[in-house]
Point group: C2
Chain length 405, copies 2
């Protein structure tokens, strides 16, 4: 038997909703006969997360009672801990409770799932935004998506029919929870820390991962391959840059890489919790929470996502947070350090803003090797210098960050 | 209420055996009237460990059944987990079961404790050595002390009367478990890692401590101030060198320093377990176990002391091991790393043998700053260059390493 952490929820087993074999073929045929409802990229990626068991123990989109409980108490109607509503919306007046519908990704036209509509309800969107994002500011990219939702939410169980383009496009990286669990088991790991990544790894991220490697069995470098906001570096480039880093600076057998199809919501602390929930399903006992985890702009304090783990009820979540302070290279320390281990001053530390990094790379300049590994810099320089030519990625929407029109 | 780890043993509270106030004065007077029995420095320091509650839940020296259980099953007769026998011995034929005796440190002449002799027994010393040290080689300094013990072991409860010269000589460093627990509580710590030190801190030790600081509430740099073997650096010098390191390279409020009076036994894995047992009493939730922990010569594999924590029964010990691999500076990594995080070659790493370090320092040479901090090197240079003048420490035997004559 494995010593891996159990999946989230009372049943303590993965609950994937993807159909297989004959059952899948029959449901695909049936879906063609059902009412077709367009869904957004966020709804699509949430369905795929449910399909592969990453959102265990969810069996479909949330009810009003679930929605309310998650917003107000981090808890679904059946008592399951959950930090962010997982809902689907529509403006369609004709869809009724009791209907069976097909859910079709509006960007790729792929039928992702079928759904039994058990409840049709309205929500207070501002309440959701204030609860989840602590703001209803429409400039917040997560808020923008909630406010753009349809008038009605639909609840009910789903059968997932497709993982869309993810398995093929991110071949070798995209993983289902059952797959990462198998890899960890084969490696004999039980203490596994997940490193959430939506950017290339500079030395500060490498240091987070290495601290985890020192004290755990290994680290799961888990990249988001769902949608980001505009200006973020697309998954394809990130993937190459991270590969270069892992190949040159990590010991074989201490790192597993994986990708997951969720979209960023930029919900900061609440998203940190969601990251831990589904990392538990992927087999991770710990979730690295660094500075400004899953944040955007100035909406969250730099360590709010660490603090929230102390505020949830004890035992609500088995996956534990591994908090690490702001990290950087310090000349006096003579290596990487954090605010917790470096007693020296600002002038001894190599700190570059995102703006400076982007400007330098766009102009083909070198980044300080104390900030970023040369192997990584090379890949990012190529990306930034060819930025205008980057159209192929737009095609399927995997890696650009446009908010839906 | 504090979230600190509970002390070792069923009662989950500190059991200090040091008398205080009127009771102490009365017992000191009584001790003068009792049969005086000389005890070794190891027995003296074990008594003081019992006195201050560091050896909780021991209430005296072990019985034959305890001794046998500890040797064979890591367990005392009452089921308490314990990894190394804590015994006192004599050649005195006149001492009988039922006697009350005074235990007097043979080196300082201080009366350390009184004891009710409940059992007088003989042991198979070779069996103890093979069980505890995995060798009966008399060249092993721990074995030498066991083989030099008296013919009889005495068991029975003790009342401790003195902490000898430790509180005064190591003022500000020497601590009782109740004191370190108070400090941790005041700092709001609950996840505390102990770093065992019997040498000055070079960068490899600093790195161990800093990894712990990154992932815990703080680190307890806990120096042995009891006896060492010949050739080890005395506590006074170590203390200065460690102070210099902590002052210049750690963030205030992340490190607590302390000293404890036990003698090294050099029992490697078994001593690693004992280190965890009494660190739990000092309030530490974790014990850092690095390369060749508490080892000497080539008696133990470099990571045997990590492995043994997996071999003891689950739940036997609440204080957990925090394993860290062999650490060093690597030029390609551009900082400190370990075998677990550095994929590069031997030639990229700064590795100096103890012999080279001693030779360099004795000749007043500089150590590579990638190996040791200049502030530390300065203090060690002074020590090694004046080594011949070092006589004052011999006076009370605190810091030299002679095996008893």
């Amino acid at each position: 038997m494995s010593d891996l952490i159990v999946p989230h929820g009372k049943e303590e087993r993965l609950i994937p909703l993807l159909l297989e074999g004959d059952e899948l073929q029959a449901e695909i045929e049936k879906a063609k006969t059902l009412k077709q409802m367009k869904i957004t990229s966020r709804e699509t990626s949430d369905l795929i997360m449910m399909g592969i068991g990453a959102f265990t123990p969810l069996t479909g989109f949330m009810t009003k009672a679930d929605w309310q409980g998650v917003c107000d108490e981090f808890t679904m109607a059946d008592g399951t801990f959950w930090p962010i509503p997982i809902t689907v919306s529509t403006d369609d007046e004709d869809i009724k409770e009791g209907d069976e519908i097909a859910l079709v990704d509006e960007e790729t036209g792929t039928t992702i799932a079928t759904m039994q509509v058990t409840e049709k309800y309205t929500i207070d969107k501002e309440h959701e935004c204030e609860s989840i994002f602590t703001t209803a500011d429409i400039e917040h990219p997560g808020v923008a998506k909630v406010m753009a939702q349809g008038t009605y939410n639909l609840a009910g169980p789903v059968k997932v029919l497709s993982e869309s383009y993810y398995p093929e496009h991110f071949k070798g990286l995209y993983q289902r929870p059952a797959e990462s669990r198998k890899i960890f088991e084969d490696l004999g790991w039980s203490k596994v820390a997940a490193l959430q990544l939506r950017n290339p790894m500079h030395r500060s991220h490498e240091f987070l991962a290495k601290i985890a490697v020192e004290v755990m069995d290994g680290v799961y470098i888990h990249q988001l391959v769902g949608k980001l906001k505009a200006g973020d570096i697309p998954a394809d480039v990130r993937l190459k840059a991270i590969d270069a880093l892992v190949d040159n600076y990590f010991v074989e057998g201490t790192v597993v890489q994986g990708g997951y199809p969720m979209e960023m919501r930029y919900a900061g602390p609440r998203e940190g919790l969601l990251h831990a929930v589904f990392r538990q399903n992927y087999g991770c006992s710990h979730m690295i929470i660094g500075r400004d985890h899953a944040g955007v702009g100035d909406y969250y304090g730099p360590f709010d996502a660490q603090k929230i783990f102390d505020e949830i009820p004890e035992g609500a979540l088995k996956c534990q947070n591994l908090n690490i302070d702001w990290t950087f290279f310090c000349d006096k320390c003579g290596g990487m350090a954090s605010m917790k281990t470096c007693p020296h001053g600002k002038d001894d530390r190599v700190l570059l803003s995102g703006t400076v990094v982007r400007k330098t790379l766009s102009e083909g300049g070198e980044l300080d090797p104390r900030f970023s590994r040369p192997e990584v810099v090379k890949i990012l320089q190529e990306y930034y210098q060819n930025l205008d030519d980057k159209v192929e990625i737009k095609l399927h929407g995997a890696a650009t960050g446009d908010v839906k029109k």
